[in-house]
Point group: C2
């Protein structure tokens, strides 16, 4: 993109760009500015959320893509809903390893109906309700997934519940019962307890008698989370002192999804026989990305530990990474058993996923921003069939109008037409975009550098409201 194009793009709520073999559709739902004006390809198309290049929200586009077909070991699923995970935000930034080259369809979990099965697939039949964990591709109307990463949805479990349970509760169950071996009477510290996995951890830990849960969450969420655990602390505050007051001799378990300095603090909070567990999204980037530096930083700021120190201290350190487990380490049988257990617990009313909201594809930017700002309480879902939120008619403005001019102009208009709902909506959308710029780009003056800055200044990777 040239600087002019970038500046122009910044004035649109969702820019439009070509991607190989795809027909672009604006996020507002309008087909416009399409450069590729060739005849519609013969293959059937579907809508998908495509990442055009690693970076900010503007890289996320709603595009038409050729419908996939099921390879011999795959299941083709017509998606009813997909889950949004913190992993997707990290994916957008190019901040996890083993990513495909952009452009690609985003998304890691989905629930829907089997539309077709590959010739070697015997475990699923057309029409069956399934959910799946997918290495990208899940934010589309149709997804082809290897059968081994597909799980039947039991009767009585809705698509939305299935999608909300799938990744979050599978991770949480594995963490508590396989990695950490949670036992009666233990005291556990759950960071980011308001997040998807955080809430799942809080619910699942109640299955073990007499467990005390200390959670950290941003102050804004404390009122909503007050029944989730016994002790709610602010991570930004000096929570260490407070944890020590609650658990004088230390905690048995720390569950940390954001890494960084907290590892060193949390290790010290463990009582003898205690266990520190790292999970969440990848902190370390292998391979070349623009954001390598900022993520490598978290790799270096964590103290390396001599195993003999663990022996002296009677402590454990563990890591859990569902994506690696499934897609690099081939543990699909383990994960399939876990998913089944999670569904059984749900049917037995032992757990109940909290769904924050369901979004149309066209509203993905807003949904991602909500997660980025940690304003969600529970799971964010995408529904490809859902109509987008009503949007204003295309604003009449000169293409090269500066952001400041635009903001002033719209503010004026808004002030003038105060009380007009339509315009308030305009303003709100504009504000959201403004916040995004501030948060992701700081005070960057050169738009072309924004994508780089997005990672360095993004709050998420510092503050840790991460979810798997």
């Amino acid at each position: 993109m040239t600087e002019t194009e970038t500046a122009k793009a910044a004035t649109d709520s969702m820019p439009v760009e070509d991607a190989a073999g795809a027909t672009a559709i604006a996020a507002t739902g309008k087909k416009d500015e399409v450069k590729a004006e060739e005849a519609v390809p013969a293959v059937k198309e579907m809508r998908a959320i495509v990442l055009s290049s690693f970076g900010g929200l503007k890289s996320v586009k709603i595009l038409n893509r050729p419908q996939p077909t099921a390879a011999e070991d795959e299941v083709l699923v017509r998606v009813n809903c997909s889950g949004l995970n913190f992993l997707d935000l990290m994916t957008r930034l190019g901040a996890i390893d083993n990513l495909p080259k952009a452009p690609f369809t985003m998304g890691c979990e989905l629930a829907g109906v089997v539309e077709a099965v590959g010739e070697k697939v015997e475990s699923f039949v057309v029409g069956q309700r399934v959910c799946a964990i997918s290495d990208m591709k899940a934010w589309a109307e149709l997804v082809a997934v290897p059968a081994k990463h597909c799980y039947p949805i039991p009767d009585g479990v809705s698509y939305q519940d299935a999608a909300a349970l799938l990744v979050n509760y599978t991770v949480a169950h594995a963490l508590l019962f396989d990695v950490a071996n949670l036992c009666e009477g233990q005291i556990i510290l759950i960071h980011s307890i308001g997040g998807g996995v955080g809430q799942a951890l809080a619910q699942l830990s109640k299955m073990v008698p007499d467990v005390t849960v200390i959670g950290t969450a941003s102050k804004a969420k404390h009122e909503q989370l007050k029944d989730v655990c016994q002790h709610l602390l602010e991570r930004e505050s000096c929570y260490v002192t407070q944890v020590k007051k609650i658990a004088e001799s230390g905690v048995d378990l720390v569950l940390d999804c954001s890494c960084g300095e907290d590892v060193n603090k949390g290790y010290a909070l463990l009582k003898p026989m205690g266990r520190y567990v790292l999970y969440g999204t990848s902190f370390f980037v292998s391979g070349e990305t623009k954001n390598l530096f900022s993520f490598a930083k978290s790799w270096w700021q964590v103290d390396r530990i001599n195993p003999i120190k663990l022996y002296d201290d009677n402590k454990s350190i563990s890591g859990f990474n569902l994506r690696h487990l499934l897609f690099q380490q081939g543990q699909h049988e383990y994960v399939a058993r876990k998913v089944q257990t999670v569904f059984e617990l749900f049917k037995a009313s032992k757990i109940s996923p909290v769904i924050d909201s369901v979004w149309a594809f066209e509203d993905i930017a807003e949904a991602m921003q909500k997660m980025h700002d940690r304003r969600n309480l529970g799971k964010l879902l995408l529904d490809p069939a859902q109509a987008p939120k009503p949007r204003p008619a295309e604003p009449e403005k000169p293409v090269k109008e500066s952001k400041k001019e635009k903001r002033n102009k719209e503010k004026k208009e808004a002030d003038k037409e105060n009380g007009d709902k339509k315009d308030i909506k305009d303003k709100k959308d504009e504000k959201t975009e403004g916040d995004k710029d501030k948060k992701e780009n700081g005070d960057a003056k050169d738009d072309t550098k924004k994508d780089d800055k997005a990672t360095t200044n993004g709050e998420a990777e510092k503050d840790g409201e991460k979810k798997e």
Copy 2:
């Protein structure tokens, strides 16, 4: 000791030396060469195995010591038998942290009868059968132990079984079920499976269905250990290749009591979700000892691990150190529950300790050497009431006779009097001493340097047949 004295001491099977407040008795049972010729103190005395200074076997003496009394929170136990642990060998070398200043009475576990209780002790009564884990002092006729480190011996459990179960099975149970969370169907690698904890681990792991145990042990023990586990490998051989053949996708659990390079090898052998557990004796020395360097070496040769690597790999590293847990970290309630569990399992015939042999105090050097050489199969116990093995009359030899001269002379005599049992015994005793020198001191020419060399060249800390 002067060089002359050292040379002289080397010619005796067990040298004699004063220790504060103690009347020395030669290991052969004879009172001689006692420098302190003051009147016998008014306090009652008892026999104890005292470490006069950190170093080789010659630092271990049988001495008379004042009988201890029970402080207000202590239990005074008349010892029926004590356990020998690898920890005691490390203690002798001064190779663990927080040791008292020499001279002190050695030994860490005992079983016996309560002789008296401190005024604040309500949990034990005089005449009760108990066992205890003690921070030194256990190799004596009477031991005063804090009541919190004392455990009742249930009816039907002998003193010897209690002493053989106590440390080894408590450690093994904690390792498998609390630290490692052993689960059905897992594959585990137990290093030094012929050792006390090794055998306990093998037995306890049979309580979990479908667990495959791979053990390492020196070739000499393979025949005796053939029923202990499914796969026996030689640690000295390239066991990594063999483990990979048995467990293609890796093992779930590695239990390592010797640390060092094997940590790095073993970590690589873990399958995803696998766990590496370090236990055993201290590898790291804090504080000033002669042997600091050689033990610091093992601290440095182990790769430090970034916790984020564990997250990427889906692996855990844990440490377990019973001594720290009890005496530095105050987890006596946890340990007491574990001991109780172990006794219940024994009474239910789920476990059965293997006792290698029972030794008189006077034979402690031979017992320690047997453990050092890893010739024991199962537990070595000490019985203060047991009569020492018959020994030859004091050999007639010039005090300053060199070792070589002595060996030649005795070989000649032995050849001459072939068939005479008494002389064969002489030779055997001599050989044991010779082996000790070779193993511990290498080809050290200067006897005064022997104690230093003992650590550096000692095989035990390299080859790993360590036991807790």
